[in-house]
């Protein structure tokens, strides 16, 4: 541990993490001081930490899992960046337009612009650091087709691009010597109410080692939240246990706002069988590389679901759709490559109409369209995943797939250029920030988002910390005591419920009532159920002690899941239209008026629930409006 001024590594600690192995030091507390603390070690967190370090900040990465295990490893398709390696016609303007249209114009235009402009250099940078992307015949980084992108634009490595990205960033962070606190969960962001002009500025963070249960106080003027999404609140999800909305909840408790929480992306293609892998992601690359969707009657049904908004650019015959893969100039895109919200709704309708597969999905067929060699080369992970987990050979038969909760467009409301939230010193980046993707994210834009805004957040967090000089915000000891008491509360209860049961009931409830198709009555019911879950959670009990106790960890994460679920249900109830990742059965079309505003949620004054208000979208400058004429 090279980091701290206030404490060094004691005997019996990990040399790298400073982690105390003994769980009996109950009440003991470590203290570390940094300029920038990054919460989360996926693509966004790692990129932010690298940028902060490069800008001269003493930087720490704090992550819930081991380094290199974050959900970025699950990203399969690629990084969207208008590098023009396959299609020289491609440029940031086309990418910007695709992103805005994919988000049904609800995106923060400035974020979409910055992303489109800066993504190519962020990808090149990964290559400088050792990433080995697939190549074009000219030896350049190869780019593949994906839904909603006009040109083949996704830099990729087979179908394991996320693994390549996280490993490259991880190896870079290790080479730079950035301190990493692995298996360490942040439960509070501290503020100094007396510093700054407003209601206080960030002073640090509170965390516990999962391994020992020991607490840590970080003194740091900049905290970057890069905690990913909220998918674990839904039963059928592609997300792992980590995605409990921690950053969303931490930001709200610190006084920041969330926007766009009603927009949850259900990825069209998740596995549906066997039950233990239900929801597991099947990459969009299957369709980008030629795969098509069929119902139980063998019909290629996506031609029946082309919305007015995308009619002009979508093929309406099989011949044109199939010709597009090789000749993009004279043909329009296949409807299978419409944005994810459109495809997920179509699949849902087909299943509801009784044209589903034996296991309640739809067929995704690439076997009859491409050679086994091509499939194994382009989609090795998918081949492996189906072979190992479902006994299905995707080079010989169709896959059964259905929608799965994949991504939340909503997140912390931030300044587009700096990623700073309403709270001075608090930044959010990646999936836990909001605005960039509007009401629906295009595939490939997430990995680009992580890199582009990770770098920006790291740099700005670092320069803010430097600007403070010697006068830093102070962590209040009373806040530390309160955070500790709150974290230990689940051990104090007797006779309460087990957190696993509450979590499982919440997941079922969100899936049933706030899922892909929503209505007023169900959303109201969901809010009532969430209130009941909150009551149950207030008396939940955990067994055992503080050393590596998943029951305790879940009990703390569950608080975040509950508040974030409430945000989603409340915003979904308020938005009386259908747009992107939010579909209301009782308001089936988009509404022009709703298209001009965001829904903003905050923690209420009592800290027990959420308040919601409308806010006008930032207005796009005229020179950018021209792209949508």
């Amino acid at each position: 541990m090279t980091s701290t001024e206030t404490s060094g590594p004691a005997e019996g600690r990990h040399p790298m993490t400073g982690n105390a192995l003994s769980g009996d030091a109950r009440g003991g507390m470590e203290r570390h001081s940094y300029d920038v603390v990054v919460v989360g070690a996926g693509g966004a967190g790692l990129r932010a930490a690298i940028a902060a370090h490069d800008a001269g900040a003493r930087t720490a990465i704090v992550c819930k899992s081991l380094l290199g295990k974050a959900h970025t490893v699950m990203a399969e398709g690629g990084i969207a960046a208008a590098m023009g390696n396959r299609w020289p016609e491609d440029n940031w303007e086309v990418h910007f337009r695709d992103t805005m249209r994919g988000g049904k114009m609800l995106n923060n235009w400035r974020m979409a612009q910055l992303h489109a402009q800066e993504a190519p250099e962020r990808v090149q940078e990964l290559e400088d650091w050792g990433a080995l992307f697939d190549r074009t015949d000219d030896g350049l980084i190869s780019q593949r087709d994906f839904g909603g992108h006009k040109y083949a634009r996704l830099a990729h490595v087979g179908d394991r691009t996320g693994l390549e990205m996280i490993r490259t960033l991880q190896q870079r962070a290790v080479a730079l010597g950035i301190d990493v606190f692995m298996e360490c969960t942040v439960t509070d962001v501290f503020k100094d109410p007396s510093a700054g002009a407003g209601p206080g500025v960030v002073a640090g963070a509170f965390a516990y080692w999962r391994e020992s249960g020991r607490f840590i106080v970080f003194d740091a003027p900049s905290v970057i939240l890069a905690t990913g999404g909220i998918g674990k609140s839904f039963k059928v999800t592609s997300n792992s246990w980590e995605y409990t909305g921690d950053g969303h909840a931490l930001a709200m408790r610190a006084g920041a706002s969330l926007i766009n929480m009603e927009f949850v992306q259900f990825h069209p293609t998740g596995m549906v069988w066997p039950p233990s892998v239900k929801g597991l992601l099947v990459t969009e690359s299957v369709r980008g590389d030629g795969g098509i969707l069929k119902n139980s009657e063998g019909e290629r049904f996506m031609f029946d679901y082309i919305p007015e908004f995308f009619k002009a650019e979508t093929a309406d015959t099989v011949e044109e759709a199939d010709a597009w893969y090789d000749d993009k100039k004279n043909n329009r895109r296949p409807p299978e490559l419409l944005p994810r919200d459109e495809v997920a709704r179509a699949i849902n309708s087909e299943i509801k109409a009784g044209r589903g597969t034996p296991h309640g999905g739809i067929y995704l067929d690439i076997a009859s369209r491409r050679t086994p060699e091509f499939i194994r080369k382009r989609l090795p992970s998918m081949y492996h995943q189906f072979k190992e987990l479902a006994d299905v050979d995707i080079t010989a038969e169709a896959m059964e797939i259905g929608p799965t909760c994949h991504y939340v467009m909503g997140g912390v409301e931030v300044d587009a250029d700096t990623q700073e939230s309403a709270v001075t010193g608090l930044y959010a980046v990646g999936e836990c920030s909001g605005g960039m993707h509007g009401s629906n994210r295009l595939g490939g834009n997430s990995l680009g988002d992580l890199l582009v805004f990770g770098k920006r957040a790291g740099e700005h967090a670092s320069s803010y910390a430097a600007s403070l000089g010697g006068t830093r915000p102070q962590v209040d000891e009373a806040h530390v005591k309160a955070a500790q008491k709150s974290a230990l509360a689940p051990f104090e209860v007797e006779g309460g419920e087990n957190p696993y049961t509450i979590q499982s009931d919440l997941q079922q409830s969100m899936n049933d009532l706030v899922g892909i198709i929503r209505t007023r009555t169900e959303l109201e019911e969901s809010l009532a159920e969430i209130e009941a879950f909150k009551v149950r959670a207030s008396t939940m009990v955990v067994e055992g002690h503080r050393q590596y106790n998943p029951g305790w960890h879940l009990a703390l994460d569950l608080r975040n899941m509950l508040i974030v679920s409430e945000c989603i249900a409340k915003a979904a109830l308020a938005r009386e239209e259908s747009r992107g990742g939010h579909t209301r059965d009782d308001f089936p079309g988009p509404d022009a008026e709703w298209g001009t505003k965001n829904l903003v949620v905050n923690l209420n004054a009592e800290g027990t629930g959420v308040d919601l208000h409308e806010k006008a979208l930032p207005e796009m400058p005229d020179e950018l409006k021209g792209y949508f004429a």
Binding site: P15, M16, L21, S65, L66, L67, G68, K69, A70, H71, V73, M74, M83, N85, Q124, E127, D128, W129, G130, L132, D134, R135, D138, G139, L140, I141, S142, V157, G158, R160, L163, E164, R167, Q171, V174, M182, E211, S240, E242, P274, P275, S276, V277, L281, S381, H384, E388, L389, A390, P499, Y500, V542, E543, G544, Q547, Y548, N549, P550, G551, W552
Partner: protein
């Protein structure tokens, strides 16, 4: 289609522990990790286990199933008879923290000792060019999900704790080989691989290759070629002479020793 699985799980911490019975209801299509999760949710809320993606992509849920190093998420119950007892124990080569969770710090420390990629300048247009065929060799190794099963099974450290200091293990020989085969990397790490990382201690029993869930041919494609390169450098009389008189052989063309 469900039945009661005779599941046994090692429970304990660094002070000691024992294998305990956890009979648990399982159903068709499930994997060992599903059974472990059900035990956690219904019988032992504090059962410690690492996992993330549950899809064989993150390498978190490594353990030993009936003595074999496996990813629990890719270990299907249908590969066992219904009346067969399945015993899950933590990886043996690493110190136990609690239950199935081990201290894998060794691997993260070894990672720090390895000089990472160092490429030369980009081409004039700001891009880099490499042929697909040349990146494929490194790509095979970069499939590694860092589950550390190869490290767990490697007998150089599995039964000889004291070798750990001088031996980086198969996962990192893979990394040395990857960098050595990178078309644009400028460093020569052969001396390091042989010296600091202890490549010479590997006597190619191929146990690592056997347990790799990604099917990476660790021994054949990484370790053996790497050993050959090291040997070329050390013992080839022509190379020795070339080095003596200042001629560079093609093996380290453009690379600087680190």
């Amino acid at each position: 289609m469900s039945y009661t699985l005779k599941l046994r799980i090692w429970r304990g911490d660094k002070e000691g522990g024992e294998v305990k019975d956890f009979p648990v209801e399982v159903s068709e299509g499930e994997v060992v990790l599903d059974a472990i999760h059900r035990v956690q949710a219904t019988q032992a809320g504090d059962l410690a286990v690492r996992w993330n993606c549950k899809a064989g992509k993150c390498g978190s849920c490594s353990a030993e199933v009936n003595g074999r190093p496996r990813l629990m998420c890719m270990c299907r119950l249908s590969d066992f008879e219904e009346d067969e007892t399945i015993t899950v124990t933590p990886m043996r080569a690493f110190p136990v923290i609690r239950d199935l969770v081990t201290d894998v710090l060794f691997n993260y420390e070894k990672a720090k000792e390895l000089p990472s990629a160092q490429l030369g300048p980009r081409d004039a247009d700001g891009k880099r060019r490499m042929a697909q065929i040349d990146v494929e060799r490194g790509q095979e190794f970069r499939k590694c999900i860092e589950c550390f099963l190869c490290q767990d099974v490697c007998h150089v450290v599995r039964d000889h704790e004291d070798n750990k200091e001088a031996f980086a293990g198969p996962r990192f020989f893979l990394r040395y080989a990857e960098l050595d085969m990178h078309p644009l990397d400028t460093h020569d790490r052969r001396e390091l691989a042989q010296g600091a990382a202890g490549l010479g201690m590997c006597n190619i029993t191929k146990c690592c290759t056997e347990v790799c869930p990604e099917g990476i041919k660790i021994t054949d494609n990484a370790i053996i070629p790497m050993k050959e390169r090291v040997v070329d450098r050390k013992y080839d009389p022509l190379v020795w002479l070339g080095n003596k008189i200042g001629l560079r052989n093609k093996d380290d063309a453009g690379r600087t020793e680190v």
